[in-house]
Amino acid sequence: MSLDDQTLSTLLRLKRFEQPPPGYFDDFLREFQSRQRKELLRRPVWSLAWDRLEAFWFHTFTVARLSYATASLAVLCIAGALTFNMLQNPGSSVRASAEILAANATHAPVVQPAMQVASAPRARTINAALSPQIRIPDGMLDASVAPVASGQHPRYILDTRPVSYEPPFSF
């Protein structure tokens, strides 16, 4: 027997009656919802943690969230302004330091090698008294340190009072 197209189509149409057991579609939706809930629990831990954090953050601390957002924005603005300034004047502070050093170099004192260890103002005062040929520029000495006249005894200033001057507090 050969099957013509019409017979074949009729046989195929009968297949639409192949149905699942009774009540299947009633349970299908329940099973779908149950699987969805299980799938939610199978989500990665970080995803669940993020959801909870998000819920906590966005639904609990609305005012605090706005404050933090404003503060963060302000910090970003300040950082941006500073960065912009630095980009506009690159190395300005370095250049200023270099200019000061160059100016000092033009008025540099002629110091004998043996005296170069004296760098602090007080030490320079003492050494100047011992060795009069040292020339120190005027600007390098502050007003409180007066030049020592020849023949005069050097005057030493102590930073602290001697211990014996302290009043005895112990009985």
Binding site: M1, S2, L12, L14, R16, F32
Partner: protein
């Protein structure tokens, strides 16, 4: 079986689902599960596989519905998902046949095709309709997945060529060509039986 659902109603349900109303998607599940069951079942020939696949189809649709822009009808979209997932499943599973005419719904006795086929004047009656149906199912399983999908949608579910073309993403000419080739193959398999 060609009663297509109203697209406006589907669009409203899709919009509600996209807005975060899962109950709207439940309505879509109830609405489309019988039709999609027929599609998947006639391609897999196994109830348990069909059930699992159908669950996965709706789960995937629910996850992806946020990206559904309504360029096609929801009906077309969900059928595309079902066909693609079923074909992928069949490729992994390989060949297995577990279909039986015992699964037939009792409503078949009232169907005019069934009455005609079992009438005393029809030669098919002599050839034992039940066995012929089993052979037809076996023949269906010998078709390629693409051909099986076309036969299922056109001959069993009664969908028009244009709709099948949209679902499969091919031209109507391709659908007709696949149908012609599949019918020839089925006829050859059934002639061998006789």
């Amino acid at each position: 079986m060609t009663d297509e659902p109203a697209p406006n109603e589907d669009a409203r349900l899709v919009a509600r689902t996209q807005a975060g109303d899962p109950a709207a998607f439940d309505v879509l599940v109830v609405k489309y599960s019988p039709r999609l069951y027929g599609l998947v079942y006639n391609m897999t020939s196994n109830h348990e596989d069909t059930n699992d696949l159908l669950q996965d189809v709706f789960a995937k649709a629910y996850r992806s519905i946020g990206g559904f822009r309504g360029n096609s009808a929801f009906y077309t979209w969900i059928h595309s998902i079902a066909v693609n997932m079923t074909i992928n499943f069949l490729k992994k599973r390989g060949r297995r046949l577990t279909m039986s005419l015992d699964d037939m719904d009792s409503g078949v006795e009232h169907d005019k095709d069934f009455i005609e086929m079992t009438s005393s004047t029809n030669p098919v009656r002599e050839a034992n309709l039940s066995e012929l149906q089993i052979r037809l199912n076996e023949a269906m399983m010998k078709l390629s997945y693409d051909h099986r999908a076309v036969v299922t949608m056109f001959d069993i579910q009664g969908m028009p060529h244009a709709e099948i073309a949209k679902i499969l993403g091919v031209s109507e000419g391709t659908v007709r060509s696949r149908l012609f080739y599949a019918h020839r193959q089925l006829q050859n398999y059934l002639e061998e039986f006789h």
